[in-house]
């Protein structure tokens, strides 16, 4: 009996070893299939929770609705003016770029996604989005919210995508301080979700003009993140341990602890690949036809 147990235990250890050494493509396919299978449950759970939260918020905020409505109307008028101005500036910008022969730097289409989960093992700081390759999401793409950059896509299955957040120590972003024009790499601090600052920028020359409150934007170097996305603001600048450089601590513009939505910056190629993949997927009619007896 004991011997049989050991044989079974060894067999499972062997299975674990085989899984461990599966080729990357097979492993990705297996993980993707499991993720796709469980994502409707996660999405349902999240929608249920959000519904509950919004109901409570609605009940609590009924009294403030009139005031809020007026404030929002004022904001709409202000924002419409801003949009008109921005449109004119974009037209001018486009014209000047054409005259100078520049390529447009950020031709991405934004894919709106809902956050449906987090890293189940808790070793990395990630969130899961409810859209994947079939919607045009590809790996190594920037993910933003209306407030600013939140991270990049790392593992993409047909219907889900995992986003490595800015706060994760393995997430590195090429950045530029907007005011002084100083370039550098922003590295996650591995902080608790929602805790600030979330990342730091090392090797800033002593002479560079970097101050608390400065805006930090993506520099566009490195290829993953398009140029000009807001990362956050500098909250502290300190001399590095060696004393040769300075280090800036950055608070992200988006609150990484309360993410509900995200936009993935997809390229035209991603969208074309998604269209091809969607066409290749068998429809229900095809499946019924395949199942029919000859």
């Amino acid at each position: 009996m004991k011997k049989r147990r050991w044989i079974m235990l060894s067999a499972l250890a062997l299975v674990a070893l085989v899984l461990f050494n599966l080729p990357e493509a097979t492993s990705t396919r297996v993980k993707g299939a499991v993720r796709d299978g469980i994502s409707p449950l996660q999405a349902a759970w999240h929608r249920g929770l959000r519904g509950l939260r919004e109901t409570f918020r609605y009940i609590r905020g009924l009294g403030d609705l009139a005031l809020e409505n007026r404030a929002l109307s004022e904001e709409i008028v202000y924002l419409r003016g801003q949009v008109r101005m921005a449109q004119e500036l974009a037209r001018d910008n486009q014209l000047l770029r054409e005259q100078l022969g520049f390529q447009q730097r950020f031709p991405a289409t934004l894919i709106s996604c809902e956050v449906i989960g987090r890293d189940s093992a808790g070793w990395w700081q990630t969130v899961r989005l409810d859209k994947g390759a079939l919607a045009g999401v590809a790996a190594e793409r920037a993910v933003i919210t209306t407030d600013g950059l939140i991270g990049r896509t790392v593992a993409v299955s047909d219907r889900t995508a995992d986003v490595l957040l800015l706060a994760d120590p393995s997430c590195k972003v090429a950045v530029r301080v907007a005011r002084g024009g100083v370039f550098g790499i922003c590295t996650g601090l591995g902080n608790k979700p929602g805790e600030q600052p979330v990342c730091r920028m090392d090797y800033i020359p002593q002479t560079a003009s970097v101050e608390e409150g400065d805006e930090v934007l993506t520099s566009g170097l490195g290829g993953v993140f398009p140029k000009g996305l807001l990362v956050g603001h500098i909250v502290r600048v300190e001399p590095s341990e060696s004393g040769l450089y300075r280090t800036a601590w950055i608070k992200s513009a988006a609150d990484l602890g309360k993410l509900e939505y995200g936009f993935v910056a997809a390229t035209e190629t991603d969208l074309a690949n998604a269209r091809r993949a969607a066409e290749a997927q068998p429809t229900l009619d095809d499946r019924v036809a395949e199942d029919e007896w000859p």
Partner: protein, 165 residues
Amino acid sequence: MTLLVLLFWLLVGGTLQGVMPAWRHMGQPAFPILLGVVIYAATNKKFGYFLLAALIAGVLEDSLSLVPLGSSVAAFLVAGWLALRLRTHFFADKVSHAAWFGALSAATATGTMALLLRWQGLLALPLRDALWRMAGSAVLGLVVMPVLFALMRGLERRLGTWEGA
């Protein structure tokens, strides 16, 4: 029937673990719900069920995170094997014993996982951080396991699949 109930709990555990954010303290460990199902199978079910639970729970946990496939299976096997060795000395249906089983197995699984991730060069946690995280996992295991065990046992009693005393 036992298999179906186990599969149900694994599915529930996988879903919950994927939507619950990691605990904000003590190294940010994740709630050990899938591990709880494995430990429940190790302490209350036949050996075969424990192995099957470890395999499915491991594949689920790895698929829902960036951990390489197979790592959690190994971690669950080690933690479950430990629970299996101790099962004759404890009563798994006693709350305090379930809590200690939970703490010990969660810390073991986290430690094994930290070693595996370090060995693969994916995440090199300093020893102090790894121990802190193991302590955090133990605290979560201490709290989560008795609740999970009670829920699982309750369902089994209702369905008539409970094999315990």
